[in-house]
């Protein structure tokens, strides 16, 4: 069973090809997208989230071409978190999370008990019960990221797509956010595709990895296949070493 199936997907901007004939199968579980800056990770994620359309090729999600999904049905099945989360003018946490029910209730429908339950569960899962009435803009970076993840969970989607969710966080909050993601994916039998810069985090929290280089696949496989100096040299163009230590090996540039 596969989550996404990509066939010959390309993405062009004037004078440059960002994604070059990608053919991939993305499996359930947590998949890390890694690669150098400009390797096409974020572009690929945006195409998977149907935020942008590929210039050529097809992407299937759940066995159906992305072009055939209706926007609201798609949003019920898949949630997306952009790299830079927008400012939330005057929104309380509770209200932000409630926006995750839009795909189910639309512009006019009232929120029922089922929606309330989803919102409460999402907030509880993210450990934010005591912050319900706080403005999201006044929260710390880690809490803000948790709030957005709570909104995604309230969407009730099977798949979560996150673009560099930890790049602006300190190391404690990085572990905190990725740990939360791991837990929720395990608890709800969900899937996630995450763009990450930190190889060690990818190995520690993800099941699969797809590494891109100049819009092409440089490595595809289980997350621990990243623990290979040759593969890392191919991906980052930099000599790296794998230090075997407890509890798990770590990767470090030489």
């Amino acid at each position: 069973m596969t989550l996404f199936t990509l066939e010959n997907v390309c993405f062009d901007v004037p004078k440059r090809r960002l994604v070059d004939h990608l053919s991939l199968a993305i499996k359930p579980g947590i998949t890390a997208l890694v690669g150098r800056n400009g390797s096409g990770k974020s572009t690929l994620l945006k195409m998977l989230a149907a935020q942008t359309r590929p210039s050529a090729g097809t992407i299937q999600y759940g066995g159906q071409d992305l072009r055939d999904w209706k926007p609201r049905d798609f949003a019920r099945d898949l949630a997306f978190l952009p790299q830079v989360t927008p400012p939330t003018e005057g929104l309380w946490l509770e209200e932000l999370v409630a926006l995750g029910r839009y795909p189910w209730r639309g512009a006019l429908g009232r929120l029922g008990p089922e929606d309330r339950f989803m919102i409460d569960t999402a907030i509880a899962q993210c450990g934010l019960e005591h912050k319900r009435g706080q403005m999201v803009d006044t929260m710390s970076g880690g809490e803000k990221q948790r709030s957005w993840i709570a909104m995604m969970l309230a969407q009730g989607a099977r798949s979560l797509l996150l673009d560099e969710p930890i790049s602006a966080l300190d190391v404690a909050h990085q572990i905190d956010v990725l740990g939360l993601l791991r837990e929720t994916v395990n608890a709800g039998a969900l899937s996630a595709v995450v763009v990450l810069h930190d190889v060690n985090m990818a190995v520690r929290f993800c099941d699969h990895v797809i590494a891109l280089d100049a819009g092409r696949v440089a490595l595809e496989g289980a997350a621990h296949s990243l623990l290979d100096p040759d593969a890392l040299q191919r991906i980052y163009g930099l000599p790296m070493q794998v230090i075997d230590t407890k509890p798990s090996p770590v990767v470090h540039p030489i």
């Binding site: 926007p71 927008p86 512009a107």
Partner: protein, 660 residues
């Protein structure tokens, strides 16, 4: 340096300008009689005098003004690191114009030293206000441009009011507003040559500091540059140069925008190269435009003011330049706004506002100012007056509510607190539609005029939407495209005014807005529209919750983004068109009411939209009451009165301290 192939285009332009000028000159005087302006006028025939002291200095002054505006624009763009900055978009030119209008009307003694100092004060004040507004947002290009164009619109609105109030005395000013380059001596050339020499010397001194500044304020500071001093000096020089141009010939729009853009297009890259090449490009551009106009006039076409024509080029140019903005707008700088605390009981505040609006409407219905002073209308007079007055109040309140709701909706859609129907150029389009009806039909009925201006607004929106759909409705670009359309419309209107046609006065009267001519049916229709619009907006308030979060989140949640944005923009445009038939194109109610609502802590979409609606109605009925009573027994223009009472508040709100 600039590579040789790129010299072809300037050479062709120079050649073309020279040819066109020669055609115009030959039409005025056979080549055999051409003289140099060295001889005294007593030895010359009238045609020769026109040639030596009219046509010849005109060519030189076009070159000089083009060079000065190019220099001014290049300086402003270098300081603000903003390719959209120029004397027109920063409001400096309109500020200078307003100062001159004021001085001519109110304090003629101040013009004893010539128009230069007065224009300098006006332009300088406008620049100060714009910079103060821009400083609050880290001089982000889009914000500075919007603030500048707002200041410019306000200044022109006040100038229009004064012009209207004094009628024919200011006809020469109206022509001056259009930027006519005609000359009757060489004095102007002498004055502007001095300015050019001073400007060039100042720019030469500033080149090195500006290069350092082009790396950004923080880096420049780290290199030991006095960032503040450099900015002030360069801006002061740019304002001085452009104010002198304004004093000499009036508004010549957008040359300062076009010249540096052309210079860059032709290969100038560094700050020094642009500062050198932009004046040359500006000089050639303006000479070419002016010579073309002269040549056309020689073939019997009406003589148009050159400034109005450059305005026509400016609007499309601004749109063409927008894609360049992508890489230089620091996204964070565009939105470092902090908000007031949220009101604990938002709907109570909305109810209070609604009560206030109703109470005030009743008060102004019966309250009056008569020959014996203030009082309450009663008896037989009431029976005949109240229905008339009720119609006017209802229409004004409905128009205000519609404008305010449009503004509030547009602010939510674009996530930009500076968005408003006035800013989107919709009102400019409505004005053009009104003008077109006025000139095309022999005796247009009020209904035809209303349809004409709604058609103009709709056409503007279609153009805007077509453009916006291409750039995926990026909010900042939408605003700037709207401003460009507005600038285009006002340039065209200036050209119409300058034509001296008697119908231009009727247009000028409408531009100021008046609620006294409205019919009962018109007022009812407007009110019904306002109520329906509020209902629809409240029903769909969830959209207004999600849209400010940006396209990524909105699409992720399954909102059909393109459709929703298009629907909101179209609805706002129609509402604005309908309202501006009544109150004229500029009132700023659409910008003010949402701002007041936000400052009252009404941040959630539903109370925000409802409160803006109430405030719009309240503000406009306040304006209607004021316009009726302030200079009893004469009615003042409604839209103008709304602008005058609202704008000072707006500036205080924008400049005032933010809630931390």
């Amino acid at each position: 340096m600039i590579r040789p192939p790129f010299l072809t285009l300037p050479l062709v332009a120079a050649l073309g300008a020279a040819c066109l000028w020669t055609i115009a000159a030959l039409a005025a005087l056979p080549a055999a009689q051409w003289v140099l302006p060295v001889a005294g006028p007593q030895d010359l025939s009238p045609e020769q005098i026109l040639f030596a002291f009219g046509l010849m200095p005109r060519a030189v002054i076009a070159l000089l003004i083009g060079a000065l505006l190019g220099l001014s624009g290049a300086l402003m763009q270098a300081v603000l690191r903003n390719p959209l900055a120029d004397p027109t978009t920063l409001g400096v030119a309109s500020g200078a114009q307003l100062a001159l209008v004021c001085a001519t009307l109110l304090w003629p003694n101040m013009l004893a030293l010539g128009p230069g100092p007065v224009a300098l004060v006006g332009g300088g004040l406008a620049a100060l206000i714009v910079m103060a507004l821009g400083a609050r947002r880290g001089f982000a290009p889009v914000t500075v441009t919007i603030a500048g164009m707002l200041v410019g619109m306000l200044a022109s609105a006040i100038s229009t009011a004064l012009t209207l109030g004094q009628g024919h005395y200011l006809l020469s000013l109206v022509i001056w507003n259009g930027g006519a380059l005609s000359q009757d001596s060489w004095h102007g050339v002498t004055r502007l040559t001095v300015v050019l020499v001073l400007g060039a010397a100042g720019a030469a001194l500033l080149v090195r500091p500006l290069v350092v500044l082009s790396l950004g304020g923080a880096t420049a500071k780290a290199l030991g540059a006095q960032v503040g001093a450099i900015r002030v000096a360069a801006l002061a020089l740019a304002v001085f140069v452009s104010a002198m141009v304004s004093a000499e010939v009036g508004l010549v729009g957008f040359v300062g925008l076009a010249a540096p853009a052309l210079a860059r297009r032709l290969g100038a890259r560094s700050v020094a190269q642009v500062l050198l090449a932009a004046p040359l490009a500006g000089a050639l551009l303006l000479w070419l435009v002016d010579s073309a106009l002269l040549a056309l006039a020689a073939f019997g076409l009406p003589e148009l003011p050159t400034g109005a024509l450059t305005g026509l080029i400016g609007g499309p140019l601004l749109i063409a330049l927008l894609p360049r903005l992508r890489n230089i707008v620091p996204p964070e700088a565009e939105r470092n706004d902090t908000l007031p605390p949220r009101a604990p009981h938002p709907w109570r505040r909305v109810a209070l506002l609604a009560c206030a609006a109703v109470a005030f409407a009743v008060l102004s219905l019966f309250g009056t100012r008569g020959p014996e002073g203030w009082g309450v209308i009663s008896g037989a007079i009431a029976a005949s007056f109240v229905p008339l007055r009720a119609t006017a109040i209802l229409a004004a309140a409905a128009a205000g509510a519609l404008l305010a709701l449009s503004g509030a909706a547009l602010q939510r859609v674009t996530a930009n607190p500076m968005a408003a129907p006035e800013v989107l150029g919709v009102t400019g389009g409505a004005a053009l539609g009104y003008a077109a009806t006025l000139f095309l039909l022999p005796a247009p009925s009020p209904l035809a005029l209303a349809l004409g201006s709604s058609g103009g607004a709709a056409a503007t929106l279609i153009i805007l939407s077509a453009y916006a759909a291409r750039s995926n409705m990026a909010p900042a670009r939408l605003l700037l495209a709207g401003l460009a359309i507005g600038a285009f419309a006002s340039a065209l209107l200036a050209a119409i005014m300058a034509s001296g046609d008697p119908r231009a006065w009727s247009l000028l009267g409408w531009l100021a807005g008046s609620a006294t001519r409205v019919t009962v049916a018109g007022a009812m229709a407007l009110a019904a529209m306002a109520v329906a619009a509020l209902g629809a907006a409240l029903l769909l308030s969830r959209w207004f919750d999600i849209l400010p979060l940006g396209s990524g989140v909105a699409q992720g949640l399954g909102v059909p983004l393109g459709t929703v944005r298009l629907a909101v923009v179209l609805a706002a445009g129609l509402a604005t068109g309908a309202a501006s038939v009544l109150v004229g194109p500029v009132s700023f109610v659409g910008l003010m009411a949402p701002h007041i609502a936000r400052s009252l802590g009404l941040l959630r979409p539903a109370p925000f939209l409802a409160a803006s609606w109430c405030l719009g109605a309240l503000l406009m009925s306040l304006a209607a009451f004021g316009a009726r009573t302030a200079s009893y027994p004469y009615d003042l223009p409604l839209g103008l009165f709304a602008t005058l009472i609202g704008t000072p508040w707006l500036f205080i709100a924008l400049l005032g301290r933010r809630h931390a």
